[in-house]
Symmetry: D2
Subunit: 377 residues, 4 copies
Amino acid sequence: MPEANVALIGYAFMGRAHSNAWRQVSRFFSPKLTPRMKVVCGRNRSAVRKASRTLGWEEYATDWREVVARDDIDIVDVSTPGDTHAEIAIAAAKAGKAVLCEKPLANDVREAKQMLAAVKKAGVVHMLCHNYRRAPAVMLARELVASGKLGKIYHYRGTYLQDWPVDPSVPLIWRFDKKVAGSGSLGDILSHSLDLGRFVLGSEVVEVAGLMDTFVKQRPRLDNPRKKGRVTVDDASLSLARFANGALASIEGTRFAPGRKNYLRFEVNGSRGTIVFNFERMNELEYYSLDDETKVQGFRQILATDPSHEYFDKWWPGGHIIGYEHTFIHTVYDFLNAVAAGRQVKPDFEDGVRNQLVLDAIEKAAQNKRWVTVKPL
Amino acid sequence: MPEANVALIGYAFMGRAHSNAWRQVSRFFSPKLTPRMKVVCGRNRSAVRKASRTLGWEEYATDWREVVARDDIDIVDVSTPGDTHAEIAIAAAKAGKAVLCEKPLANDVREAKQMLAAVKKAGVVHMLCHNYRRAPAVMLARELVASGKLGKIYHYRGTYLQDWPVDPSVPLIWRFDKKVAGSGSLGDILSHSLDLGRFVLGSEVVEVAGLMDTFVKQRPRLDNPRKKGRVTVDDASLSLARFANGALASIEGTRFAPGRKNYLRFEVNGSRGTIVFNFERMNELEYYSLDDETKVQGFRQILATDPSHEYFDKWWPGGHIIGYEHTFIHTVYDFLNAVAAGRQVKPDFEDGVRNQLVLDAIEKAAQNKRWVTVKPL
Amino acid sequence: MPEANVALIGYAFMGRAHSNAWRQVSRFFSPKLTPRMKVVCGRNRSAVRKASRTLGWEEYATDWREVVARDDIDIVDVSTPGDTHAEIAIAAAKAGKAVLCEKPLANDVREAKQMLAAVKKAGVVHMLCHNYRRAPAVMLARELVASGKLGKIYHYRGTYLQDWPVDPSVPLIWRFDKKVAGSGSLGDILSHSLDLGRFVLGSEVVEVAGLMDTFVKQRPRLDNPRKKGRVTVDDASLSLARFANGALASIEGTRFAPGRKNYLRFEVNGSRGTIVFNFERMNELEYYSLDDETKVQGFRQILATDPSHEYFDKWWPGGHIIGYEHTFIHTVYDFLNAVAAGRQVKPDFEDGVRNQLVLDAIEKAAQNKRWVTVKPL
Amino acid sequence: MPEANVALIGYAFMGRAHSNAWRQVSRFFSPKLTPRMKVVCGRNRSAVRKASRTLGWEEYATDWREVVARDDIDIVDVSTPGDTHAEIAIAAAKAGKAVLCEKPLANDVREAKQMLAAVKKAGVVHMLCHNYRRAPAVMLARELVASGKLGKIYHYRGTYLQDWPVDPSVPLIWRFDKKVAGSGSLGDILSHSLDLGRFVLGSEVVEVAGLMDTFVKQRPRLDNPRKKGRVTVDDASLSLARFANGALASIEGTRFAPGRKNYLRFEVNGSRGTIVFNFERMNELEYYSLDDETKVQGFRQILATDPSHEYFDKWWPGGHIIGYEHTFIHTVYDFLNAVAAGRQVKPDFEDGVRNQLVLDAIEKAAQNKRWVTVKPL
């Protein structure tokens, strides 16, 4: 297979997950392009050097502008915090690189639209890394809806619950700083639930109501834990929404749900059945079908680890489950094939803009205490 | 124990459940008043006669006005559809009877307030039958919150999902008629989720957003199934809410969730833990506590069937579960003791008014597409 | 409907459950005989008098011999400890009464056979109260096997786990005395798991291996808690078994499983599917079918509360669950119909003998450390 | 870190899992020896060449004797079917290599003992790959027992259920051939349940009863699917057992449980609590503790993905689950550290012999229909 040289910008949590994906994809799948892990880029020289070795990159660099301009780079993978996505991705697009960008596409609609314009103008393949779409059980959920097995869709009920900052002594890291993170629970986690709703329903959100709050308003500063600094993002975000297909939705993200570690759950009710997914049991999908004989109707706990389930034939025998990191491997697999074929793949920067338009509307709706229509693309 | 003569108005679904409660309460509990099932009242003479025998009432009658005026009646139990509650309950109060009224208290705020005024003026004991409060697992939930074990409450996430009318061929019964039922999913089921939120949190809703819809707009008429009549109530109702204690809430009721038969579920997140209840497994409460040692923190599935759990010492050994009907028995047990003592018991008509005020606000919020402040009592 | 006068012998735990069944059956079902709760019998006059009132019996008595001989008694319900079953049931049979006997039929095979011979000779209707058979979910399990939906049966995996005497300070009550109880976990709980296996599979056990032990060998005496007396029964009993239909089985009962309150669980694997039941969630049956499309195969959690499920059309709407006591109501309902029709009903005294023959074989197998063939009826 | 050159013998299912472990271990962990994937060995030249590239080995070879004799090889990893383990591992030991051997150690006790003798004589580090021990949730189970939190252990209830050959058209692969596989369900899967029991309880099995059967006695031959050949191994194996610490056990393996894909489940009951594990939800451990306050006792569903759980601090944030393959990574991590330190690590070849002695006893017990004492090491 031909090779493609990859440059990764950012090497923290997301950088580790993306590196693993690039490293593993050809061991289990046969993408039409074999990725070569050329260079990883970060600002701190010693840290990025160490990361390059641990994560398996051939080179390291500290100036992303140089990296994205290199002739030998085919793919740029943007895994930095959201406030830097636009600048990097736009430069990469201008340099003609295929771009994979970690979500959120950007911290606001304006930047997101600029990014979309840039990749379109450059004619490069672009993808947004909403990895959760590519859990086999989520792919099955999408398929059940798309095939009509659930009938007309009435409800999407999505929550993304976490608990890591419930303790007020958790310090004021960048995720609590609106300038860097854009928002808190809204862009970080509600956005995942929103993206899954759009994906599984195959429909767009048209109007929203919102409710947002910050429960712990001050936290210990990183530079001086004895002093406190102000949290400028939301701890919890709730929304009601109406999809274009008529479905009513409730979409919520909160970091203040003790015991919920990565509880990205959704339930879809249609006229013929219901499906339920929860990422903490990401290998499973619950499915209730009114097409079953009445007496034996029940929620099926489908273990989506059969060769018939998307991606799983490349892994292990049924029941030998996979984990969080595998969703990234599936993502880069599809991305590599798209780059090889020169065709688009979903979710892409357009999805990034669409997601951001909804988040934007939720924020406005919460501020103004009224329903807000989501702006067109 | 002294006896109290009971008159039951209405003998359908709720009448059966109430009758069972009156019949069973003294077999397992020792209320300070022993109920005597004196008379059941309904409009159809032959049907109510049959019901009197089956359900165990000494007499039957067809005119509720005569019944509530009888000198030998101590307690009037109102189990008719919502549009008749006010008239009956007010007459009973004026006649000096203790009144147990099935929820909803009334179909609108005006009537509900008249009822509250009437029982207050008459000085009679009044109770609203929100039976779900009295599942032992729900009592435990309330206790955990009230004791402070959950810390400061951040979230109430309530849903009441059913599926009985998903099939469009379900006919146009009274529950689809706004004149009789007042509303659909809103008053029938969202109201339960709301009442449990108020009960478990011990706090009142201050403002709401709403979203309501009717998915199946016409249904076969009862008198002529080949013709269709218009559904005048909501199939689904969703709301966002803020409680006085600062908790953010999402409260939903829908009849269009295939597989959900009586899925009255709530989750409460506080600064020290989380609880989850689902009526379809009404003997269980899930509880996560940050006070547990980190390594063994997990959602506990508490089987609330221990003698230490409210009411259960009167039933069976642990693990020998109880069911739906038992919540009514617990309700009349507490009501009888309240009547015996001449003191109030919760939930009462005031709760009925408060619930109605919130439902009213949700309906307005949904109509006007903006947040609405809940009116004071 | 014609009436049948019932006499209940014994008024403790089982007596309460049986009384409730007699009291409730005609309120929800229409048995072809209406039971009249004539007399309850016990040795302690003041206690039985009190019980008669609480439980709803017209009269009380202290001499069971007189009671079973009374001309006006049609049905004798034996709810005493196992060592007295034979004498009472045989006398009742001789007096021509229909007999309902709480399990175990007797404490040993000899007595059980005498009882079977007596009822056969007398030609009376006889039934053994293995109430768990009549949970709607268990009836559904039986139906799925009998209909062939599970294909050829390969495995029955039954456990009945409890935890009430894990604490060594639980005193030396009659259940720890071999003379009264016959055995411990074996006859008390493993017997239920065995009976369910025979019922659901519709096949008989042909040979067994066994393992029994007593973990807490001495307990505080009831008469003097500071002294200890010897436990003469088993705390735990395990067996391997082969059914006549070729299925391999594991059947276990233990009182030493902390957290398991009434965990009567079974799993049946056949060539076309699997079913799982657990009494602590007695309204549910799990069902996996290889006949489902591969991609959506999964364990269905069937909420057996639909009108299509046995008995449930007489109770509440779907999802409004029932509890432990209802299994007794179903039992007496079927018994009353059998008595009215003068036909046999299962399980009967023959089942009692068959169960006892297997328990006997397990005990011998455990003692002799070898497989034992179950003796023929 | 110093490097160690690894040779892998076998590249099928287990070879893929082992290769992944060698490849990934240094990316997430910092073992005291860095593995270098030197050579993979198999009999089919073109297949092993392809495997070497896909799985990431520097070289490939077809003669394992040459490979294990190479001076530049430090570690030999034996991932072939069981009938070849002894010869390869003994040669590797004689050549002074550290040996990691996939389970079962051998197909019979004689060979297993020879292997143990060989590694002891050679003084090399040896490890048996019972990967399931190293799921973080299983490590936690072991810790809870070892720490005394479960009190005195009364029961181990282990099952390993699968369903892949339920369909009689599954062909006669090597796993159905006693000469190659040694046994069927017994050595393949019951052995895992047995090993987990020994590990979690920290005690040895002293005596057993057994029950084994072959449900599908003939299967289509691989060379000519229209002809059938005889299955010479067991489809299902059940045992009762007594551990040295007094615990009673039931240990079962079957391949005939539809819907159970990799249902390696165990339950341990002790005087202070209970734990339950199921590999299909391998990130979770259920834990019930009598030390909790009575009113809130319940089975905790511990998501063993916290940094406080063994190995997990090297992976992802809590709730971001891991999968099957990670248990192998943990295994080689511990093995590499042991090799670096020149000390033993568990499970080792001694565990392999002990497991085999128990399997041997179960087989004899099943054949002779009596309890069999497990022979000493």
